[in-house]
Subunit: 123 residues, 2 copies
């Protein structure tokens, strides 16, 4: 973000995009983190646990995503979602990559205004 | 966002920035909307009501902001916050304006990736 990194207690700017349709959220920060967790752990259950989320909640988020996108974002491997593993489909990987790119681009684009805002905040 | 506007039920991209310090949120979408509501209504109570928020909650958000920023973002006018009116200070107006600028810049910066993501979603 800047020329030097700041300690964790300094103000930080975090971009979050939501893809909405009417009142429904098709995709957002929680779902992105869940997909990323599945990439890292290879398991819906483990990804959910890392986020302090129940398996049922994670499963329902995945079903929402699979309904919103034309292609499924997750597939089960080695014998079913619950006890086996899961991984992102090529579509899921593209969704996650595009989302993270949007976040990066947003941070860069916001830099000038963030610099002005940052100066108005206490250290 | 595009060459033509879409009906409300079509997927939409919404940028949301959070300014955090450790676990605390110094500023974000809710606070921005509250400031905007005060600009529009000239009253903390009316702004809170429009957001379905209690006066106490709005007041506590304002106190948080006033602590995080070097200068207060809100001042009372015509005899006190609760029964009189309120308005943004010059600092408050700058904070709100910079925040909205960041959102606009983020949407523009995310456009290419959003176009790719958009195609992957059901209409």
């Amino acid at each position: 973000m800047g020329k030097y990194s700041r300690p964790a207690s300094q103000p930080e700017l975090r971009p979050r995009f939501r893809i909405t349709r009417g009142m429904k959220i098709a995709f957002g920060p929680g779902k992105a983190d869940l997909l990323e967790g599945i990439v890292k752990t290879g398991s819906i259950g483990k990804a959910a646990k890392r986020m302090g989320m129940s398996y049922m909640r994670a499963w329902s988020l995945i079903q929402e995503m699979n309904k919103c996108f034309k292609q499924p974002v997750i597939v089960s491997v080695r014998g079913g979602h619950e006890h086996g593993g899961a991984e992102l489909t090529p579509a899921g990987r593209r969704v996650l990559a595009s989302y993270r790119e949007m976040e990066k681009a947003a941070l860069i684009a916001a830099r000038t205004d963030w610099r002005a805002l940052r100066k108005m905040l206490h250290d």
